[in-house]
């Protein structure tokens, strides 16, 4: 044998023999899989908390603060409405706590896992912003075809269109649309990310040559009393509808009600039959394009004429509050809806009254509860009201005549629930 070959054989043989001194544990692969999943969820939680993003159903105080701010100032803030946001339904602007529980799928079913939230988590490389771009413009910028339908089967109307931009290279990587039918909210994400194979127990069907996939996606944890610091008592399996259309991947998910197979088929059929109807054409019909201060002396009828729905706007409220400003405009959180904001002042404090036809969040959302959290449902003048604590103060909200009312102080908190109830009574009983 040639010397070189002989040396080669010796090296090979020595290494092979030496390598046998370690016996790799095959189960590590599975352990890494679980670790990766946990890390992903953890990372999403950290990033979302870190970036002060206001998802719907989130921290109501944060939502209100954002809405109030945007209502008066120029829009231009970040909003995420995504699967990730649903996972962290408790975390608003400063609700950073050390840990929560989430349910993680293992070979033995779902198990609770304690997830630590670290304040110094890295920056999320994504921003989600409202976009006024048409589908055509968005497609051109993103480099893939985007079609945001104006409506979905089930009476869902598109109320919001956002673009997901990767900050590191400023690339548009997704478009997200939000649909509402007053009872439920549906999200539609369009991107080049194919999650079809991630669906569990999926069913496949064909509409006009396009394949649709319906199946189980991530499960939501069910928390006792919506408190994410308590060990979940179970999981709610969510179904999603996924498909590929003109080279891009569509992912449709629901916020409150699950998507049944029957509904998925109807949504798919409606999508394929209404391809030409885009959000661009219809989304702002009947909506006040720019907010404006109206006269302090404007009557209820004049306000109603502006916003297009019935309102109860007293000129004064208990606590010596008198109305100082009246503002009308598009609900910044739902561009297909109008909103009224009344600003009351008593010389010391400013109280805001929001009236919107948008489906605003209610108090039953998962969150990290603290000792001050006394959120509950109460009845005022026969109307179900949601007394909600978040971020150190309270708001009181209720539905009246199919529109949503909410009162809260611009700064500070109600002295007691009775103070808020007295104000609510005066509004409900008005007119």
């Amino acid at each position: 044998m040639h010397d070189k070959e002989k040396i080669d054989d010796m090296i090979r043989g020595l290494l092979d023999k030496e390598a046998l001194n370690i016996e790799p544990r095959e189960e590590i692969i599975g352990e890494i899989g679980i670790k990766v999943k946990n890390m992903e969820q953890d990372s999403k939680l950290k990033c979302i908390v870190k970036n002060n993003i206001f998802p719907m159903k989130l921290n109501i105080r944060g939502y209100v603060a954002a809405a109030l701010l945007l209502f008066v100032m120029a829009p231009g803030f970040t909003l995420i409405f995504s699967k990730e946001a649903r996972v962290v339904a408790a975390h608003g602007i400063d609700a950073v706590k050390s840990w929560i529980y989430i349910m993680t799928k293992t070979e033995d079913g779902y198990k609770p896992v304690k997830v630590e939230l670290i304040d110094d988590a890295g920056e999320l490389d994504m921003s989600y912003d409202y976009t006024g771009l048409t589908d055509e413009e968005l497609s051109r910028e993103a480099g893939f075809n985007i079609h945001v339908p104006s409506e979905l089967w089930g009476g869902y109307k598109c109320v919001q269109k956002t673009k997901g931009v990767r900050k590191s290279d400023n690339a548009i990587v997704s478009a997200t649309a939000m649909y509402d039918n007053k009872n439920n909210t549906i999200g539609l994400r369009i991107s080049m990310d194919n999650y079809i194979n991630a669906l569990q127990n999926k069913k496949e069907f064909d509409i006009k040559g396009t394949k649709f996939y319906w199946g189980e996606a991530d499960a939501d944890s069910i928390y006792p009393n919506h408190d994410m610091r308590q060990i979940p008592v179970g999981v709610k399996i969510n179904h999603e509808l996924l498909w590929e259309y003109r080279g891009a991947f569509y992912r449709l998910y629901s916020v409150h009600e699950d998507i049944t197979y029957d509904a998925a088929q109807k949504i798919a059929e409606h999508f394929m039959n209404n391809i030409s109807n885009t959000y661009d054409k219809n989304y702002d019909a009947g909506v006040i394009r720019s907010q404006s201060h109206i006269s302090k002396d404007a009557t209820t009828a004049e306000i109603e004429n502006e916003v297009g729905f019935k309102v109860k706007v007293p000129e004064s409220l208990p606590g010596n509050f008198n109305i100082a400003y009246k503002i009308v405009g598009m609900d910044p959180m739902n561009k297909s809806c109008n909103m009224f904001k009344g600003e009351y002042n008593n010389g010391e404090k400013t109280l805001n009254l929001i009236i919107t036809e948008a489906n605003w969040p209610v108090m039953e959302y998962d969150r990290v509860k603290d000792a001050k959290d006394d959120s509950r449902i109460i009845e005022v003048e026969g109307v179900e009201c949601h007394w909600t604590y978040s971020d150190g103060s309270h708001v009181l909200g209720w539905m009246d005549n199919d529109v949503y009312y909410l009162i809260g102080y611009e700064k500070g908190d109600f002295g007691s629930i009775d103070e808020a109830v007295a104000i609510a009574k005066s509004i409900i009983g008005n007119g």
Binding site: D3, K4, K6, I7, D8, D9, M10, I11, R12, G13, L14, L15, D16, K17, E18, A19, L20, N21, I22, P24, R25, E26, I28, I29, G30, E31, I32, G33, K35, V36, K37, M39, D193, N194, Y195, I196, N197, A198
Partner: protein, 194 residues
């Protein structure tokens, strides 16, 4: 399913594909890390770290057919990083087998006999220690992980000529060590070790 199919499924978030894909590389990866570091306690950590990085980055792999080079590149990078970090904290395990005892005078240059002896472990450890990290990595990837010169050049992002010269240099050093230990002769007939 072939490797490219598994990579594509993995990129779509399929955990079963992930396990199948990385499962096929796992043992060789752990043993590579063991050979590079000489420590079994570090080997699993390195591979865990590398696999997690692979999972997080696999979507960025634009050519699934280049998976092997891509995977080994992450593994090498991780092993070097860990090795550098551990340089000051030398494990006792690293020195196990270093208690030098005289070689059996009856040993000849018969390789089969050599590898059957308990001295082989000490010998290869000694030999690998003589090599710089890039040379050691090149040797292990080539002789143990069976990567071609082209593949190693992709893993290490260097010219194929560089890989060849590293192998040549490593071979010379190893040969010298083997001669010194009496396992091979220096161009002469040799029946026993020195």
């Amino acid at each position: 399913m072939d490797e490219i199919g598994l990579v594509i499924k993995c990129q779509q978030g399929d955990m079963e594909a992930y396990e199948a894909l990385f499962g096929s590389y796992f043992s060789k990866a752990v043993r590579y890390a063991f050979l590079i570091t000489g420590r079994s306690d570090l080997a699993e950590d390195i591979v865990q770290e590398a696999l997690i990085e692979c999972y997080k980055d696999i979507k960025s792999l634009r050519s699934p057919e280049k998976f092997k080079s891509w995977f080994y590149r992450i593994l090498v990078r991780t092993s070097w990083r860990v090795k550098a970090k551990e340089t000051r904290n030398v494990s006792m395990e690293e020195f196990n087998g270093c208690e030098y005892s005289c070689l059996n005078s009856n040993l000849d240059d018969d390789f089969d006999r050599l590898v059957e002896t308990r001295e082989s472990s000490r010998l290869i450890k000694d030999v690998l220690q003589k090599l710089s990290l890039p040379l050691r990595t090149t040797v292990v990837l080539h002789y143990y992980n069976d990567l071609s010169i082209k593949e190693i050049s992709q893993v290490l992002k260097c010219f194929q000529g560089t890989v060849k010269s590293r192998l040549h240099n490593a071979r010379k050093i190893i040969h010298k060590e083997l001669v010194k230990e009496g396992y091979v002769c220096d161009g002469k007939e040799c029946g026993t070790n020195a």
